[in-house]
Assembly symmetry: D2
Homo-oligomer: 398 residues x 4
């Protein structure tokens, strides 16, 4: 057992920290000053992306030949750092959800043509993508409930259904959707779903309103779109993998996504703690700096204790995925989904509280961070689904 990072990780960490200090944090102010063009990426990102690429900080998330080739355990600490500036850093490195997951799917389940057509421009940061999974009318965190239909018509597939919270889809740069739907009405319950590639401009695709999350529409990130698919017809070759492989692909996508999300959340928690440290040193109440008050000290200590525990759990999950595979890491992957968002939510809540009115406002990133952490308690299934599943396994007689 050894808790020290390996040299490559350590080197990339240092390089990324430099990039954050020199480019990303300064760009946050530019971001605030620039007028928002709804749903589009902020212009400052182009500069950041060019610089990241120059420094070899590009596509770090992607294992294997198509990406940087890092293991989950190596990428995790880097994802954490990008979380410190979640509106800029992940995209600056071309490591932002949902593109990351989509690129993974294309890398793993796509054929050569699909990869050439869509993976290449995504890896180059030229286009963006979205993942159309969640449906308003069913508990779609359980993929077997998906109602959108994908039906064969001649040499094409025809898609009908309604999705929402399709993140990034309102970005004009978003060109391709990976859509989850049902290709079979019977057979084994986990072999009825398939994923299919749907170019955004296919007739019948209607990108609707943006859904908000606690007041945030994320209009600088392509939002979270409602999309209706009405007799949307695409060629047979757009199906990803074999018909019926959708559930399995979705499962495979989950593990790394959880690692990324959770580590970014921990980055937000560390950023919040930085803000807490500054405020506590400078603000006076009842005649003493906040930093000298017992309650504030307890908050800071609790925050540290929670971060350390959460980070270790994520790193172990990443290690297990790397060494024994996603299946063996099942418990840990569920555990981080349960443990990390709520730990970070707690930390952010206290950071908000310490900052008073400023904490809930647009002047600090805390309220927005909070909304991200809170929403992750629901993303790919409410925590309760994971608690239940993990609990059932735990209660099995041994």
């Amino acid at each position: 057992m050894d808790f020290a990072p390996d040299p490559r990780t350590e080197e990339l960490r240092r390089s990324l920290l430099d990039f954050m200090a020199e480019f990303v944090y300064p760009a946050e102010e530019t971001l605030e000053a620039e007028p928002v063009v709804s749903w589009s990426r902020p212009p400052v990102l182009q500069t950041l992306q060019a610089e990241a690429r120059r420094r070899g900080l590009w596509n770090l998330f992607l294992p294997g030949e198509h990406g940087a080739g890092l293991t989950n355990l190596q990428y995790a600490p880097l994802a954490e750092i990008t979380g410190r500036s979640p509106r800029l850093a992940p995209e600056a490195l071309n490591c932002a959800a949902p593109d990351t997951g989509n690129m993974e799917i294309l890398a793993v389940a796509g054929d050569d043509e699909q990869r050439l057509r869509w993976l290449a421009p995504l890896l180059a940061g030229e286009i963006r993508s979205a993942f159309a999974m969640t449906e308003p009318d069913v508990a779609s965190s359980d993929a077997t409930n998906i109602a959108t239909s994908i039906v064969r018509r001649g040499t094409n597939w025809v898609i009908n259904g309604r999705k929402w919270f399709v993140s990034g889809a309102k970005d004009p740069a978003c060109r391709i959707l990976i859509v989850m739907g049902r290709t079979a009405e019977d057979g084994p319950i986990r072999e009825r779903q398939s994923m299919i590639l749907v170019p955004v401009d296919t007739p019948g695709v209607q990108i609707g309103r943006g859904m908000s999350q606690f007041g945030y529409a994320d209009d600088d990130h392509g939002g979270h779109a409602e999309i209706t698919f009405t007799d949307v017809e695409v060629p047979a070759r757009n199906l990803l993998g074999a018909p019926g492989s959708g559930f399995a692909i979705a499962q495979a996508r989950l593990g790394p996504g959880r690692i990324h999300h959770c580590m970014r959340l921990l980055g937000m928690a560390e950023r919040a703690l930085d803000l807490v440290r500054e405020r506590a040193a400078s603000r006076v109440a009842f005649g003493r700096p906040l930093a000298e008050q017992g309650v504030v000290q307890e908050w800071a200590a609790e925050s540290r204790v929670r971060i350390e525990q959460a980070r270790l759990l994520v790193l172990k999950a990443a290690w297990l995925m790397d060494t024994e595979g996603n299946r063996a890491a099942h418990t840990e992957i569920q555990a981080i989904k349960i443990a990390v968002p709520r730990a970070v939510e707690w930390i952010l809540d206290k950071a908000v509280q310490l900052h008073g009115a400023a904490g809930v406002s647009q002047d600090l990133p805390l309220a927005r961070f909070w909304a991200i952490a809170r929403s992750l308690r629901l993303a790919d299934g409410p925590d309760e689904v994971h608690l239940r599943s993990l609990g059932r396994r735990e209660l099995k007689p041994r």
Copy 2:
């Protein structure tokens, strides 16, 4: 000891519930459909106000000769009902903050001229008002920290300072600000502050950007403005009460405001529970309706237990204020500020969780309710200030 409401309260409750069912809830859909004209009150409110006035449901919040003459204990259950539709009902009844507090101040501390000039149109619902207290640079929940200056110049007062989170100030109908500032630099620490009436159109008053709370700008309620006062000059008669009475007036305003806020929060909690009930009955997961699942049952039970306890505490605080005065109710008034927002926050969190993605979105009022409850943990001082004060009193040797 008797927990039954008196006949007048009971009658008003029934009348208000009818009004909610016949007018307010249906108007919620109108509200969503109407285009928002930023910072202005939604047009549908005019209809509601006319009807409320017709039914004798007007200015219920105000005790004494100028208002409906209810006690705090009588008004509290009515405030709760308005909380079920917080964007419409309080204003429909002319019982919305911050106008309520401002009208109380004018009724109690204003002279005849001030009441005629400002209280009368406020009571008639013709204009709106704002309360400029919070400052970005100091811990202004402690009024003795207020930095805005109010300095005598001839027969006028001159105001300089910066305020923020001035709710309602961006509403074009907002005509008058009650501004808290310092009129003395020495003397007893709680006699250095004064409140002064500043018409919005006074030169030097600059209404700036709206501050948001967890992504919500409340642009249908006049927002939460940043305001700078630069050499703002008003006549001497605009001062409320004697110079140095600001702190005392602020204290007097607190008690009823807390009752109103807390009861409205409980109304939101009950509304959330209604939504939970509907969703739990109709949504199926793991093969059974949510209503039959143990975890959901526990959430519902916990919600009920927390609501009941919180409501009783608020009602007792109201009763104490009515029978023994604000001072005697000090502990209870602090206690509800601590207990109620977090109880309601918990309930709303579970309600959001039960609704999945819809819960965080604009399609349900839950996320917005949550942001209100969360922000109230900071409004007029973070909970920690009240915990500390209550705790010190509790720890005094007896």
Copy 3:
């Protein structure tokens, strides 16, 4: 609505507080000094009982003609006061569980002969009684699961079964057991149980070991016995009420018992807060008295807030029982069972923490209080049973 106690309650409160100060608290030291004679009541109780009776503080718990005739709402604040010294005060007033519940049963369900034979000496404090309900092998909080059999044989009933946690049964003064068992194997599920009077010295009754609760055997209160009933034969007239009425009697007994238990817990919480106050004033850490430290102030404030809410909820439950009956108070009776023990447990936990090693030891009553509060989360059914039941009712469509 009125939160002031009525004159009779107020007078009894004052009288009881005097009695506590003059007799009970001083007797606590006697209790510690006296050698314990296992399972017997401490001798000092006799003096206390004589004095309590002299002062008219006797059998206050019992409504109606046989007792003091107080309502639940009137008795509740008195029960709270006795909870401040739970090893002495309740018994000093002949108001200790399980005798109180047993006397209620005899008063309500007993016939004249049963009352003469058993209620009279219990009311006089001459004997004690126990209530044999809980069984080790079934979830006996649900009375329909009771497995002990009560079978007719000629003019007698024959009892077979095993009970445990029969509080008070090891006290040599305990003469009579009220035993819950099954008198029918079919018919409506809630009409199969009966209660029967079994004198302790009936052949076949074997009082076994005392069960402990978190290390406490309660050997000065008759303990919590394991009892086996082997062909125990008693005359037909020993049955309480009609055959099959056991479940209904048990239900009726629950409400007042909950009020008593919960109010006594609140008395323990107040006592703990007194100890906290003293310790916080006298103990110094990090150069300042504990009373001046933020964390301790928060604990004290939280304790006060929780006590106030819990007490109001219990009082409302008592009022509902008095005015509308046990059935109408169903939600409140469940709610206090859920809310009060855990509130008090929290308060006691903090009080222990503040006292360091002394807090967990026999030198302070805190650890023992804690064990009482903790055990009440299981007594007459784990909280989860009540949460589930309350939640189901809350989730019913309206």
Copy 4:
């Protein structure tokens, strides 16, 4: 970074698990059946110790030449296993507190004579020892508050003072006390304390009553004694290290002790989870096994999530101590003291709840485990002291 245990640890784990299954768990029943001879070790321990020694499972806790030579990281998972049967396993392996800490002190700070005289028989399991640190009258978790005096008189040291909660001191096999006291009244505040060896039979040493922890006197483990030292005179050579080195020795002792305590707690948590698993599979409520109920599943899942996080944190602390020293592991050593007892306390609370009345009783180890976990929130300083210290460090400007 690597989360796999090294081969030696893995081999010892397997060997220890075998020993537990074949000897320790069966001996638990013997322990219950044997009559307790107050304060003495249960006879069954001799058999266990002989067998453990035979299997090379002896003194595993002690690094360096005198013990098994394991690192903290290697020993930690073994300590966890012994925690599954805390009344037997640690002592069976001669790895029980407080002897472990005392042996470490002797190994590190003792001279040859002291080691020969006391360390040798302790390592052989022939005698036991106690550590007299805590004092009733001061906040002795801060060693600088220690009031017991150690004064030079000729060639001897004379000790006066009162200690309590001296674990193990009532065991007749306990022969030696390590006493912490003040050897200087001035000079640097952390160089005024010294540790001194005091044979139990030295005149003036009076072993008083045993202190209990939540009703548990631990009379099968030598209890937790109150001890008065009245003019206790020992030769100069009994001092451990140089005068004034007591604080530093105490600090060095803390780290490993925390690791041991925390890992044993996690062993108790795992044992509790085993019991939960069995009960949940076999007990039926509301017509279904507990294992199929959502609330129980959530408890099990939460327990697993908390255990995993806590264990990783302890292991990291152990690794840091091994690789960078106690000082570098300061934050982690404090963090586990805060995080682990409360995590385990939560898990045990739910396990108790699931078992109903049996859970609080002597029939299951759960209530006793709970008392251990709860008491550890106070042992060597209440959590709040550690939170405060950790928080202050966290809030230091960077």
